[in-house]
Structure formats: structure tokens, C-alpha cells
Amino acid sequence: MPSLYVHVPFCIQKCDYCAFYSQALTDTPRELISLYLEGLEVEISKRQKDAPQGVSSLFIGGGTPTALKEVELEQLLGMINSFFAMNLGTEKTVEGNPGTLSVEKITILRRYGINRFSLGVQSFEDRLLRAVGRAHTAEQAREAIRRLREAGFKNINLDLMFGLPGQDMAFWQASVEEALSYTPEHLSLYGLMLEEGTPLYVRYREIKESEKDRLDDLQAEMYEWAVVRLKKAGYRQYETSNFALPGFECQHNLGYWRGEDYLGLGPGGVSCLGRERWKNIEDVHSYSNLLLNGQSPMDEEGKEALSLRECMAERMILGLRLDEGVNLISFQNDFGADLRDIYRDVLERYNYGDVFVFQGDYLRLNPRYAFVANTILQEFV
């Protein structure tokens, strides 16, 4: 059973570090959103067949899904519910940003069975939020958390970022502490990544190598501190950047890291069924017009037939992000080979310092190396 992701490519404004496909509402005519919803409805109806037994989880992300107006949000949730079967207990997440969460919108989410909310807080420091172009304040984040709780959300994730321009250790600690004070069931802590094509990437391009090293060291310290702090607060670090109270791990994302199938609808949405992966065109107009004309919204360049080797590599680089590691039996079942044979060289080369740990049916990466994992993970690609 695949999971289902629906992409809502609209935001109040684009953040300076963001490389995802989304457009700022300030320069989007409202008709474009209607067009998006019309196109999406066609896609949903057509793709229902890819999930005959329903979907294992739902994640509505973006962009900022909650940037939609109440009526638009209702329309979106309605079409998903009517085409895809979901069990009562299925995890259904919507993500959104502070400043877009009216009580009315939250009520609609509840009414349509959304049982998990992921809030992009990033920091409780206004100065830092402004520095990366976030369209909200810390106070709006606090208000959003309060409203979500009041509306009955019992599974809330807060996103926090570290390594933001001008953020020092004390700011970071203060944001984490405040987040903990709301006892969220789930926390995602992301180190700032400089993605090509973003304004922040351009801003940092000129900095010296030694300054880069200093910033990397600071991020590492922030991360290491948070790992210890969250553990003390009772959270389990089940993935490189994700922490949850027991039982609240994000099922949808676990699916990605375990190599399960997924459908990604909407412009820019990526689907992966077996070894076929494809991506929808990253343009609302073309996406919807293609669909409304009975054509596929697929982006030809985003189409991949993954080789067995690539599939195995992905299983490793994703699975080793997880605390549980890569399941040897699933690997054997899915690829017909023992990963200990396939990657014997790498496993031997890194046999020092307990880089890899075999535990039960799993191969794990020693958490000590989580923040320098790329060096090791590139051995698998």
C-alpha cells in the first residue's frame, strides 16, 4: 500500500533557504489556485487506481497548505477523502506555517479527519525569522500551537532550524527549550542547508573556507547539544533530524526511509512505485492544463527507471538515517541479495570505530556518525 503525498505549491512568501517548488501568493492570482484545484481533482481521480487498497498515510505538504483560503482547503480535503480510502487510525498530516492558521481552518482540518499537524516554527526569535525571510513572528507560532491544541490535535510536530544566520548557541537553546515547554509529540530539527538556486546560497557563496568550517562546527555543536537535551526530555531520535515521544514517529516519513512506495500528487509531486519514479511538472499552469486536456502532468526529465543498484543504494542511504537502520530481511526480499555481500567492501573499509553496527535483523549506523554521515553514505551510491 503506497503512502500519499499532496503538494500545495503556494506560500505567503518564499523563504530564503527554500529549494522546494512553491510560489508566493503575493504574485499569484487567485484563479491560479482554482486552476490548481481543478487539475488536482483530475489527477486524484486518475491515480486512485494506483492505490486499490487505499493509502497507508497521507501528508499534505508544500509550500504551505494552510496558505489556502478556508473554502479552498475544504475543497482540497474533500477530493482526497472521496477518492482515497483511509482507515480510521491512518496518520493524516497537514503542514503549515504560523500566521496562516485561523481557528476556522483548524476546525476544517479536524472535520476532515486530519490527526497530525506539522508546524514550521523554525525559531522563536523574530530577528532570526526575518533574517531568512520567514513570513511570520514567534508570537504567531505560539498562538498557532495554542489553537491546534485547543482544537484537539494530539499529535503535533514542530520544525526548528539551527545554523541560521546570526543564530548563536544561546538562541538555539532558547528555541529548543521553548518548543519543549509545549510538549510537542514530535520535533524535527534541521540544520540549515545551502541549496543551489536559493537566495541564501548566493549570500553564502563568497564566504571563506575557514568561516565555513567555523559555521559547520557551530551547527555540529548545536546538533549534539539538542540530541542530548531531547533524549533527556524523553524523545527518541528515530532519524537523523527527527525526534518523537514513544509511538509518535511519523509513519508517512518512515515509509520513505524504509523504501516503501509512495504517490506524490500536485505540481512537482514525486511518485515512486517499485523502481519507477516520476515527477509532475513544476508549474501550476502546465500541470493543470495538461490534466484538463486529458494528458499526463509528468515532467519527462523527472522520469527515472531506477536500476537495481540505485534502488539498493537508496535503501542504504535512507535506511541508515534511521535509528533502527536497514532491515536485512527486507533488503534480501526486495533485491534478492544480502547487503553484507553487496557492500562487503564498504563495510570492511569502515570497520574501525564501530561505524556500522549489526543488531538483530538490522544494519545501523553508529549515531555518533549521524552528523558526518555523507562521507560514509557516498560509498553506497
Binding site: F20, Y190, G191, V270, E304, Y369, V372, N374, T375
Partner: protein, 601 residues
């Protein structure tokens, strides 16, 4: 037949880099209609891409021009181009030997440079008729009178007849052509005598084999002639002869006085050595033409493939380059750090850089180049004299009685105001002053004896930066001199990296050892562990730096929408790493092996 050779003129152009040699050649080609303006690629003679980029001629070429002079006769003018760099002095001398005249092109602003002077002497050695041309007279800052005076003072040529020209605008081109016809003597050689053809260049062609670029001095050659190389006695059957018009054009025969090419399905350019004499095997000349010598490399470095599996490809590529460049020498070498590679010898630094770049660009090789070294002569306690071209082969101190290093006689031409700066530089570079004279009121010629290793180190860069680019240098090997030298080794993470060893004068050892580890600290990327970098002399550590352990190298986010992108990111990272050389557990970027050249005294 003697009649025809009366209408041949063979000449070359002597000029400093940037003084307009290529532009002038282009104008001559254009004016005589060998190529129409539209057909003509900018600067036809400098055809190698690398040459274009560097604005210099590396491989020389030749072109035949047909010119109807004012006397009504049509003349065959053969322009033989020469490389304009000190590394290629021998090649220049052979090109000049193929001519009866030369155009001395001097920039009307900059005046005579050291390299020009050196080539003028070569031309005079070959008894060439020199035609002085003062180029770039269209520039507002041109000072033709001063430059004329300089030509008279420095070279002792009568400059009253010097032609004022601008190759860029076309001023003086006709006058130059007329002067060539009038003053350059026609070739003498007897076309009935046994064949003597001087090879002034050679080139490998995939279809025709090694092609000799020749000046026929005596006799004649045509398809079917059994030719013989006089230095080796090897014989080949001529398959084609032709001329450069400027593209290769096959002709019936070449005879005394003419310039052209000979193809004979020769597999190896080693058999067509510059300076060698081609004769007719069935009617052999008694003596070869004078002046032939094997090219002697002065600068050596190690070339290693980053991927051990590329070793054969490197060998094949070096062999292919060698097809066109007999002065490149190479032999297998093994480094503990770098594995199997080649120790290569070059005429000089520029030659080395050119070969490296061509290997990378044309043969797509991913290589490590070690810092260049000269040949040291080491006297051992056993009484042997060893020639050491690789610092890591230097015997241990207790085995050495003394070490000699090569020294050169260096001539520097510089505006008077920079004399102090040059003297200071030469002192830092362990130079010995020998002479100074004023070549004009404002320009000085300094002669020094300098260790070749210092020239290889960073002399050119220093010379340029300390004189704002106004100084020019020429040098020739003058001998060997005993010096107090030591070898510095580098340890990375406790392991000796032999390819980083270098030999240096004792007085500079501490400073260079320290600067090198500082430089390496900046070059070697962070690893998952801390890496100490030490420079040592014998067992004594003279400097230490540390590359701290990497603490962040992670994809903080990785979800369904960008798994492919993140996988590709890791692939890219991996490819970047592949360009580095793994020595022990340390990945070393390629430029680390040249780092010793990037430090300043």
C-alpha cells in the same frame, strides 16, 4: 632550376611574446592572399587551442606565401614560425637554421626584451639577414626613435632602415614584403647534390604517420625516394611531399631551397627528431647538417594517475604526445604514496605545464603532478656520483659527501628603476652577480648566476610581480655547483608521503617547511578524524599543523520529493573525492602536490 630558387625567400619572425608576431604573420598571409580575409581564422599560425589561450606559439608551423613583388616577379616566401619561449631555444635555433633571413619585431612601446635578444643572437649565429621592424607604431605611446636607438645600442644593428609598422592596422606590410624580397638572400644549395633536408619540426598524423617539416638544403626529394635519417641511419620510403599553403598541399617534389613536409608512414616521431638531417639512402650525403643535438630536459616531475587503473592510459597518452614532441622524456616510476606513474622530463616549466594541460584536456586524464625538480648530482661516501631527479630518491644524510645543483646564467633586461628590486630578488634566490650594463639610458641588462631550482620554484612570478611585468628573463644552463642542501619530508597523519618531499637550501629549509605545512592545512579537506601535518628533516620535526576533524557533512532533510536529488548530491560528492588521491587513510587533493610551489620565501 637555379633560376627558380632565386625567387625563394625563407624567413622567420623573432619577437617577444605580445610584440605582435602572430598578428604580423596573419597580415602577411592575408596580404599575399594565401587565405582570404573571410577564410582566415584569427591568427592562423597559433593553431593549438592552448596556444591561443596563452597567446604564444608552442609548436612551430610553417606557411608558404606567394608574392608578386614590385619588380613583377612572383616570389615564394616561406615563413617559418618559431616558439617564443626560453624553454624552446633549441627548436628556435633549428627553425632559424632553416632560413636565410629573419624579421626582428620589436614593440614600439616596450622595446627589446631578453628573449628577443637571445633569439637575435641565435639568428646572428646562423648568419641570417635581419630586418628590423618596429611594430605597434599606431599606439599613442609608441617611441620608435627610442626603440631604434635601443636596437643599435643593444644589438649593434643599423636601425636607420627599420620599418615602422602596425600589424594590427596593416601599416608597413607591403614594405616588409618588399624588403624580404630585396634583402633576404635566396637559398644557395645545389639541387643536384645528394639530398640534405633539415628537420625543423615534426608532427604526428594518424593517417600519414610522423611528418617531418623540412627545409631542403641540398638535392631533391619526391614520392618513392628512400630517405635516411642521418642521426640513426633508419630508412623509410617517402609516401608524400608537399608544402604549406597554409594547409598541407601535396606537390611532385621538393628541391633545394624549398620548405615543406615529407611523409613516409613513420610510426614514431622519435624517428623525426628536430635538427636531424634527412638524406637519400641510395645517394647519401657525406655529412649531416651541423647543429643537431638531442633535446635535454632540465625540469622533472612525477605524473601519476589518480585512478591506478588509468596507468596504461597515461602511458599511451604520454606516448602519443611524444609522437609530436620528442623532447618530452618519461620513464616508469613508483611512489609509495602515489603508486605507479612516470617521471617526466621537460625542457622547462612552460613545457611541463603545457604537457600537463594537454594530458588533462586532450586525453581526459585525471592526474597528480608532483612539484618539479632539477637534477642534483650527489657524491656518496662510496665514491659514486648519483643523478637525482626525484627528491625522494636522495640517499640518507650519512651516505652523502656533497650535493651539486645545476646553475644557469641568467640575463635580465629591466627598466633602470627596478634594478634594486631585481638585485634584492636575486639575492633571495641565492644568485651571484656577474655583470650589469645599460643597454639604453633607461634600460639595464643584469647578468647573474642563479640556481635552476630557484627559477623552477617561483622566480618568474616574483620577477613579474616585483617589476610590474617589465622585466624579461633568458637563461641557459651553465654548470653545476656544490651547495648545502637538505631534503624536507612531509608526514600526513604520521605517514611519510614521498611525493611531497623536496630538496631545498639549508638556510631556507625551516621557513619553507613551515610555510608548506600551513599551505597544506588549507588544502587538505577535513576528514572524519584529525590529521596532523608535519614537515621533517631526517627525524627532526621542523613544523606541524593540524587539520581538525570534520564535524558536519550531512543531508539534514531527505524526503520522498527529493530522494533522487539527494542521491545525485552524494554521487557528486563522491566524484569530487575521486579526484583526490588516497594515501593511507587521507584523501589528498591534486593541488597539494604542487603546494610547495605556491609558498613564498
Amino acid at each position: 632550376m637555379a633560376q627558380a630558387s632565386q625567387r625563394i625567400r625563407n624567413f622567420s619572425i623573432i619577437a617577444h611574446i605580445d610584440h605582435g608576431k602572430s598578428t604580423l604573420a596573419d597580415r602577411l598571409i592575408e596580404y599575399t592572399g594565401a587565405l582570404s580575409k573571410r577564410e582566415m581564422e584569427e591568427q592562423v599560425l597559433d593553431s593549438m587551442e592552448l596556444e591561443r589561450e596563452r597567446g604564444i606559439t608552442i609548436k612551430l608551423q610553417a606557411v608558404r606565401l606567394s608574392y608578386q613583388a614590385k619588380d613583377g616577379e612572383i616570389y615564394e616566401l616561406n615563413l617559418i614560425d618559431t616558439p617564443g619561449h626560453v624553454d624552446f631555444t633549441y627548436e628556435v635555433s633549428r627553425s632559424l637554421a632553416a632560413c636565410e633571413g629573419a624579421l626582428l619585431v620589436v614593440d614600439a612601446v616596450q622595446g627589446i626584451e631578453a628573449q628577443t635578444l637571445a633569439n637575435v643572437y641565435l639568428a646572428l649565429d646562423n648568419n641570417l639577414e635581419l630586418i628590423s621592424i618596429i611594430n605597434k607604431i599606431d599606439l599613442p605611446s609608441a617611441e620608435p626613435e627610442r626603440v631604434k636607438q635601443e636596437i643599435e645600442d643593444v644589438i649593434g644593428l643599423d636601425a636607420s632602415e627599420a620599418i615602422l609598422a602596425s600589424a594590427k592596422t596593416g601599416i608597413g606590410i607591403e614594405e616588409i614584403l618588399e624588403r624580404i624580397v630585396k634583402t633576404v638572400p635566396p637559398p644557395k644549395g645545389d639541387d643536384q647534390a645528394p639530398l640534405k633536408a633539415l628537420i625543423f619540426d615534426s608532427k604526428f598524423d594518424a593517417y600519414k604517420g610522423a611528418i617531418s617539416y623540412v627545409r631542403i638544403v641540398e638535392g631533391r626529394v619526391s614520392k618513392g625516394t628512400t630517405m635516411k635519417m642521418m642521426s640513426t641511419g633508419k630508412t623509410f620510403e617517402v609516401t608524400e611531399v608537399g608544402v604549406f599553403a597554409p594547409a598541407m598541399r601535396i606537390v611532385e617534389e621538393l628541391k633545394a631551397g624549398q620548405v615543406g613536409f615529407i611523409a613516409a608512414s613513420i610510426k614514431n616521431v622519435k624517428d623525426t627528431q628536430v635538427g636531424d638531417t634527412i638524406t637519400d639512402a641510395e645517394n647519401s650525403a657525406l655529412e649531416p647538417l651541423p647543429g643537431y643535438r638531442k633535446a635535454t630536459p632540465m625540469v622533472f616531475c612525477g605524473l601519476y594517475p589518480v585512478e591506478a587503473s588509468d596507468y596504461n592510459k597515461l602511458r599511451d597518452s604520454l606516448e602519443k604526445l611524444h609522437l609530436n614532441d620528442a623532447s618530452l622524456v618519461f620513464e616508469p616510476e613508483t611512489s609509495v604514496a602515489l603508486g605507479f606513474g612516470y617521471r617526466c622530463g621537460f625542457l622547462g616549466l612552460l613545457h611541463m605545464e603545457i604537457i600537463q594541460e594537454r594530458l588533462e584536456r586532450e586525453y581526459d586524464l585525471n592526474m597528480i603532478t608532483t612539484a618539479p625538480s632539477v637534477i642534483y648530482k650527489v657524491h656518496t661516501i662510496k665514491g659514486d656520483i648519483l643523478s637525482i631527479d626525484n627528491p625522494s630518491n636522495l640517499p640518507s644524510v650519512d651516505q652523502i659527501v656533497s650535493i651539486e645543483e645545476p646553475v644557469v646564467k641568467a640575463t635580465i633586461l629591466v627598466p633602470a628603476e627596478y634594478v634594486g628590486a631585481i638585485m634584492e630578488l636575486n639575492q633571495e634566490k641565492r644568485g651571484t652577480y656577474s655583470a650589469m650594463d645599460y643597454v639604453s639610458t633607461s634600460r639595464v641588462r643584469l647578468t647573474y648566476e642563479l640556481p635552476l631550482s630557484e627559477i623552477v620554484f617561483d622566480y618568474f612570478d616574483q620577477l613579474k610581480s616585483r617589476t610590474k611585468g617589465y622585466a624579461s628573463l633568458d637563461y641557459e644552463l651553465s654548470g653545476y655547483k656544490e651547495t648545502d642542501l637538505v631534503k624536507i619530508d612531509v608526514l600526513l597523519n604520521g605517514e611519510l608521503v614521498d611525493a611531497l618531499s623536496f630538496i631545498v637550501h639549508k638556510a631556507k629549509a625551516y621557513n619553507r617547511g613551515r610555510k608548506l605545512v600551513e599551505k597544506l592545512r588549507g588544502i587538505i579537506p577535513r576528514h572524519m578524524f584529525e590529521i596532523p601535518i608535519q614537515s621533517v628533516i631526517g627525524n627532526k620535526v621542523i613544523a606541524r599543523e593540524t587539520v581538525s576533524a570534520m564535524r558536519k557533512d550531512v543531508l539534514s532533510k531527505c524526503y520522498g520529493g527529493d530522494i533522487s536529488r539527494k542521491r545525485k548530491l552524494l554521487e557528486k560528492q563522491k566524484a569530487g573525492k575521486k579526484r583526490m588521491k588516497q594515501v593511507g587513510s587521507v584523501e589528498i587533493p591534486q593541488n597539494a602536490f604542487m603546494a610547495v610551489l605556491q609558498i613564498e620565501d
